[in-house]
């Protein structure tokens, strides 16, 4: 049933958020530490486990795939509610700090990715 997949996703999501909150508490903060990332890791491992034991039907899987596919529209909706007005009002300090950090980080991304071993890039086509 399709709901099994969606429910599995929901349980992983909640587990991740709970663990992230516990981690935050343990580190003495009020915020969630990597909850979504932890949820993603749980889902990756659960999928591998269920695949090995062959207990995940294609229909159940589509209950997860749908939400993965709806992701870009969700991002568009997210863009629609950014505080663009305030961002434009932030003035030169905000603008220069933002542009500066994006450019600097971009240079580092480019630099690190250029060091990526050829073999890995070559495997891409497989």
């Amino acid at each position: 049933m399709i709901i099994y997949g969606t429910a599995l996703l929901a349980v992983c999501h909640l587990l991740g958020v709970i663990i992230g909150d516990l981690l935050g508490r343990a580190l003495g903060m009020q915020t969630n530490v990597g909850g979504v990332g932890i949820a993603m890791l749980i889902l990756i491992f659960v999928r591998i486990y269920l695949h090995k034991s062959g207990r995940l039907s294609a229909i159940s899987e589509s209950g997860v795939h749908y939400w993965g596919a709806i992701y870009i529209p969700v991002v568009v909706a997210m863009a629609m509610q950014q505080n663009v007005v305030a961002a434009l009002k932030g003035g030169p300090v905000a603008l220069i700090a933002a542009v500066g950090s994006v450019v600097l980080c971009g240079l580092f991304v480019s630099f690190i990715n250029r060091m990526e071993p050829e073999t890995e890039a070559g495997e891409d086509g497989k």
């Binding site: 580190l27 709806i70 629609m80 509610q81 961002a87 009002k89 480019s110």
Partner: protein, 254 residues
């Protein structure tokens, strides 16, 4: 009369209206992408730009802080693009992750994450200093805003920054997120965004889940989960380091 009924229907079915509105924006973006740019600019990149433009219009009309979602007619957009569904959808993309690929880039992702926290912070602090902010609290808060727009106010709140500095810090983070969304597809070649590993490096360094996820979505849908996997730790790490290590260092230097 007709308008009244329409308005009522949209308000009472917020999320459903949002699906329709976003679908329409995606459709228009797809047509623009194919007809006006011959497919060179991805439809999703255009959709995000339209989304930001609508956010500006919505913010201007309502005077609120949540863009289009502050207009009653489009309040469902707030739910659809809010943290809950965004994170739910991001987690779902993990279903397509190849564990082997992710493992291979584990350590470089962690390094990127650390650099992505420290580098923007240094830039933010330096800019704050150049503009005359000389107290450790203000400099740290603005620097933290350059990490992400959540780290900024969390840090500022923890160390007691003034509200105008907080606003500046949030603005810095929001501009950064928007810049990453818009510039990633344009700079994808320069950034060498091709492999899962490169997406993880990008996710760590660029920070801001919203910026990374939108930027990668507009570049190559397949890379989204890898970038997001790393980027989701960004805010946590920033909130951990901002009010503690980073603040202590700035205070020691001032």
């Amino acid at each position: 009369m007709m308008w009244e009924i329409l308005e009522k229907a949209a308000k009472e079915n917020g999320l459903v209206t949002a699906f329709a509105v976003v679908g329409l924006v995606m459709l228009v973006s797809g047509v623009i992408s194919r007809k006006l740019t011959c497919g060179r600019v991805q439809g999703s990149a255009i959709a995000i730009l339209i989304g930001l433009a609508l956010a500006y219009v919505g913010g201007k009309i309502s005077g609120g802080s949540k863009g289009l979602a502050d207009l009653a007619l489009f309040s469902g957009v707030g739910l659809m693009g809010g943290n809950m569904l965004r994170d739910f959808a991001i987690v779902a993309t993990a279903f397509e992750v190849h564990a082997e690929e992710a493992k291979k880039a584990g350590w470089i992702g962690a390094i990127a994450l650390l650099l992505g926290t420290v580098l923007p912070f240094i830039v933010g602090v330096a800019v704050a200093w150049a503009f005359g902010y000389r107290d450790a609290v203000s400099m740290t808060t603005i620097g933290a805003g350059a990490i992400t727009y959540i780290v900024g106010p969390v840090t500022g709140g923890a160390i007691g920054a003034t509200s105008d500095v907080m606003a500046l810090s949030i603005a810095t983070g929001v501009i950064k997120a928007i810049l990453v969304m818009v510039s990633t597809p344009v700079a994808a070649k320069f950034l060498r965004l091709k492999t899962p590993r490169s997406a993880m490096v990008f996710g760590g360094l660029a920070g801001t889940v919203s910026g990374v996820s939108a930027g990668l979505a507009a570049t190559d849908r397949k890379l989204v989960p890898y970038g997001a996997l790393v980027a989701t730790f960004h805010t946590g790490l920033g909130c951990l380091m901002g009010p503690s290590v980073l603040f202590f260092i700035v205070r020691a230097l001032v």
